[in-house]
C-alpha cells in the first residue's frame, strides 16, 4: 500500500515538472518568482540559497542538447562514453557559472514578457532583468522534445549574447590547438 502511494506521488511529481507548451509562461513566471524570493531572503546564506534554487531549475534545461550544440561537429566524432563525460562536465560548468551569476544579484526585478514561436518546435520566452539604472533582455529558448509534449531549454540569450553560441566558438578555438582530453580537463 505504502509502495503504491509513493509510486503515485512520484508519478504526480514528475508530471508536475514537465513543462508543456500551454504552461511555459506561467511555469517560468512562478519559477522566477520563487528564485527571486529566495534571493531576496536576507536570512539565508549564499550556499543555502543555491541549494534551494537548484531543484527549481534542474528540470528546465536539457544539458545533453546544450553540450551537443556547444561542441558542434566534434560531437559526432566522440564515443558515447566521451559524450557522456563531456555532458557531465559541461552541465557542472553551466551550473557553476549560473550560481556565480546569482552572487551578483542585488535588488533587480525580473519580468516575464511575451512568448515567441519562431518554428513549430521552438518557443522563445522573452524576459527582462530590471536593475536600478540599466535593464537586460534575457531570452530562454525552448525546444519540443521529440515524441513528447515536454519543452526544454537549449539556450539562453542575454542582451543578444547566446550562451551556447559563445561556448561553441570557445570550444572550437580551443580544439584547434589542443586535444579533447585537455578540453575536458579545463572545464
Amino acid at each position: 500500500m505504502l509502495k503504491r502511494t509513493i509510486f503515485i506521488v512520484l508519478i504526480l511529481c514528475s508530471s508536475l515538472f514537465a513543462v508543456e507548451e500551454g504552461n511555459i509562461k506561467s511555469e517560468m513566471e512562478s519559477k522566477i518568482a520563487t528564485i527571486t524570493q529566495i534571493l531576496q531572503n536576507k536570512s539565508l546564506s549564499l550556499e543555502s540559497k543555491k541549494e534551494q534554487i537548484a531543484p527549481t531549475v534542474d528540470n528546465l534545461f536539457d544539458y545533453k542538447t546544450m553540450a551537443k550544440i556547444s561542441l558542434g561537429r566534434v560531437w559526432k566524432k566522440l564515443s558515447s562514453s566521451q559524450q557522456e563525460q563531456f555532458t557531465k562536465k559541461f552541465e557542472q560548468k553551466l551550473k557553476n557559472s549560473y550560481f556565480e551569476k546569482l552572487e551578483l544579484y542585488t535588488d533587480q526585478k525580473v519580468v516575464v514578457k511575451e512568448l515567441e514561436k519562431p518554428k513549430a518546435n521552438r518557443i522563445y520566452l522573452h524576459s527582462e532583468i530590471i536593475g536600478t539604472e540599466e535593464s537586460y533582455e534575457v531570452i530562454y529558448k525552448f525546444y519540443k522534445v521529440k515524441n513528447s509534449n515536454d519543452w526544454k531549454i537549449y539556450d539562453v540569450d542575454i542582451t543578444g549574447v547566446s550562451i551556447i553560441q559563445t561556448y561553441r566558438k570557445q570550444f572550437s578555438e580551443f580544439l584547434k590547438t589542443k586535444s579533447f582530453d585537455e578540453l575536458l580537463a579545463s572545464l
Binding site: G72, R73, E100, T159, T166, R168, S186
Partner: protein, 262 residues
Amino acid sequence: MRYLSLIFILFFLMTGCSSKNISTPHTKKNIIATEQNSTQTSEDDEFDDEFDDETKEVFDPLEGYNRVMTNINDKIYLYAFNPISKGYAFVIPKPVRVGVSNAFENLKFPIRFVNNILQLKFDHSIKELGRFMVNSTVGVLGLFDVATKAGIKRYDEDFGQTLGYWGVGSGFHIVLPFLGPSNLRDTIGLAVDTAISPRTHSGLEYQIPKNNLESLGYASLYYTNKNSLHLGEYENLKKDALDVYTFFRDAYEQKRAKEILE
C-alpha cells in the same frame, strides 16, 4: 595633436581595410569548404542552422595587438580602476551614484536623438526629446529618471549602430585602450558620438567641459561611477572564458549585431 593622432588612427584602420581585400580569396575558400561540410551534417542536426558555424574563421588581423591590449586593460582594470571604483562606492551612497548615472545618461540625449533620426526612427527621437525635457526639469537636471518611471523608456542608439543600420559591416575587431572591445565601425562611431557629446570638449557651444582636462575629468567620473554600479561583473564573466580575448570579442560582436537589429 589630437587631430593628428586621429588621422594616424584612421590611416592605420584604412591600411587594415586593404589588407582585408588581399586575404579575401583565402577566407572565401574556407567558407565554401565549411558550407559544404555543413550541408552534409545539417540533415541529422536541426540545431546547426540556428547557430553560427563554429569552424568559420573570424577575420581578425589585429589579433596580436588585441590580445596584448586585452591583457593590459585587464591589469588596469583589476589593479587600478576596480580598487578606485570600490573606494568610490564605499564613500558615495548608492542612491547618489544612481543619480549621477542618470544625469550622465540624460546628457547623452543628443547622441540618442541624432542617431534615432539618422536611423529614421522618428517616433523614438520624439520620445527621447520628451524624456530629456521631463528629466532635465522635473528630474532635477537629470538626477532622477522620472521618464522611465512614467513608462517612457530610453532608446539607446549610437553612431556605430547607425552605420550598421545603413549596411556598414563591423570590419575587424579592435580592443581600445581603457574602453575594451570594439571594432572598426564602432570605433568610428565612437569618435563621432564623442564629438557631439555634451560631456566632452570639441568646441560645440552646449558642451560642459571648457578644455580637454575637464573633459577627461568628466570621463573619469562617468566611468568610475558606472563601474561602481557594476562591481564584480567583469571578474564573474571572465570565469566563463576558456580564452578571455576571444570570449569578450565574440560576446561583443554578438551583442552589437543584436543592437543594430533593434
